[in-house]
Amino acid sequence: MLTPAITDLEQLKDHPAVARLRSWNLAAVEGAKFDRDELSIYVERSSLREACALLRDDANCPFNFLSDVTCVDWHPAEPRFEIVYQLLSIPKKERVRLKVRLGSDSPAVESVTSVWPAANFFEREVFDLFGIRFTGHPYLRRIQMPENWEGHPLRKDYPVEGYR
């Protein structure tokens, strides 16, 4: 059966990944959630790339593998977008999820391709399907849709049948 989610940062501050980020910059961690045995950390937008680099190089539990980058559109709520990073530590067999909230007004976040080159295609996909810009990305072009496509299909205000 489901146990209720823990959303209180005070209760989660001893978790290694949370503690590591908070000891580096208290303001970088906006919140955390422990739900269904999975930990999510909300990271402040401007410190995302550095937070990723910090977790990758952590001596105790290096999150050296970026599993996935994706986005969730909470339209019409604000902040509208949530960029979701799934991190995996191959030596410690641990997962953690980082999240960044972005408003609907020209959403952009720093690219993590310099931390994990694996982010390249994932970020291009998010750019293509959600219209999020990743600053510092080496080749931010559409990847799934044709170059001349209008709109970003996975946004919630984009109709399922497409525009006709």
Partner: protein, 384 residues
């Protein structure tokens, strides 16, 4: 010179376009161009009930439908907090390993054919046919099986099913010897694969490689063993790892995996528990046909599930399984309604494809074909 390879090219296993910038026979730059098979499955999922998404997951990766079914079902079950009975879990493991064999056989056949060893293809497809017949027996479909459902599996397997699987499992190891006789010691095969498209462990991890592509570079990591799901912790198996990081190393890893998979199948047959194949959750799992026709309550639940779906408590999960190609992950966000708010598939091939430039730049054109084959891509999964 810029050379365009694909999207319709026999060695790209689907519709992959590769743009090659070449200097004579040497590759200066290589750029994969994807998206030709993009069908917007993630968007479609958002308009379906949870149980209606299952057939869509088959169609992402047409070589390992059961793995995708499993990953999706596990993710939704985690969202719901459902307990799955042991027999369903073991059946899932059994079929998942048969799927791995099926997928690796197609890979081995087509990969060898790309490099010029045509005979292996016929051998591999001979055994693949046996596996597909087993799938047909259990689910009624050869490829788009949709056999794993949320809360268990669709049907009780037919009476002679386990005997047929055992018969296959007894025959199969000698068939793997046959493939190896054709390839492993073959001097032409070795020349085409050894030292070709080499990738270091650091590069493989940094670029997000997983599965045999990662293990071929000497990283000992397998989700089935290291982060077990669906009862894999009950099985004993070795995780094959090769150190060289070249095409031959990845070939070795996958061929050894064929042998390990058949070992898991044997264990699953020997230890198959008795009991129900579906979880006891009438609001989520469709009732038996028999009950539906005799009990009013079952009929009501059936009607409700089909017409309204079932609500899933709000939350999010990321569930990853070891597919034949690497880490297949489903990230599902629920807003508490009967339709998923967001379904995202983490494609192992999409990440593995990013290795291609590292593997090929500075090498010969002829090796590109070997490199593409060795990362075992399925374009349906990359584009979704």
């Amino acid at each position: 010179m810029i050379l365009n390879m694909g999207p319709q090219h026999p060695s790209t296993h689907g519709v992959l376009r590769v743009i090659l910038e070449i200097d004579g026979e040497t590759i200066v730059r290589i750029m994969p161009d994807i998206g030709y098979l993009h069908t917007g499955i993630e968007k479609t999922c958002e308009a379906k009930f949870y149980q209606q998404v299952v057939p869509l997951t088959d169609r992402i990766d047409y070589l390992c439908p059961m793995t995708n079914n499993l990953c999706y079902a596990l993710a939704v079950e985690k969202l719901l907090g459902l307990e799955i009975p042991p027999k369903a879990q073991w059946l899932r493991v059994l079929l998942n390993e048969l799927t791995r064999i099926n997928s690796h056989l197609v890979w081995l056949g087509t990969h060898a054919m790309d490099i010029g060893a045509l005979t292996v293809f016929l051998y591999c497809f001979r055994e693949r046919e046996d596996v597909l017949r087993l799938f047909e027996a259990v689910s009624g479909q050869r490829m788009m099986t949709s056999y794993f459902r949320i809360g268990g599996v669709a049907l009780e397997p037919p009476l002679d099913f386990f005997d047929r699987v055992r018969d296959f499992a007894n025959r199969f190891p000698s068939k793997v010897d046959e493939y190896e006789n054709l390839l492993t010691g073959n001097p032409i095969w070795k020349m085409r694969t050894k030292g070709v498209a080499r990738i270091t462990a650091e590069d493989a991890i940094a670029l997000g490689a997983s599965g045999p592509t990662l293990r071929g570079s000497g990283v000992d990591f397998d989700l089935r063993r290291d982060m077990p799901y669906s009862g894999y912790e009950n099985f004993k198996f070795k995780v094959p790892v090769s150190q060289e990081g070249d095409v031959f190393a990845r070939y070795e890893c996958r061929v050894q995996e064929l042998r390990e998979s058949i070992g898991i199948v044997q264990q699953a047959l020997d230890g198959m528990p008795q009991g129900p194949i579906k979880a006891d959750a009438p609001k989520v799992v469709l009732p038996d046909r028999e009950k539906m026709k005799t009990q009013m309550e079952a009929l009501i639940y059936h009607f409700k599930i089909i017409t309204e779906g079932f609500a899933v408590p709000a939350g999010e999960v990321y569930q990853a399984v070891e597919s034949p190609r690497g880490e297949m992950g489903y990230y599902i966000v629920s807003d508490g309604t009967a339709k998923p708010y967001r379904v995202h598939m983490r494609s192992a091939c999409l990440a593995n494809l990013q290795l291609l430039p590292k593997m090929c730049e500075g090498k010969l054109i002829a090796d590109v074909v070997a490199a593409i084959g060795s990362i075992d891509i399925v374009l349906g999964e990359i584009d979704r």
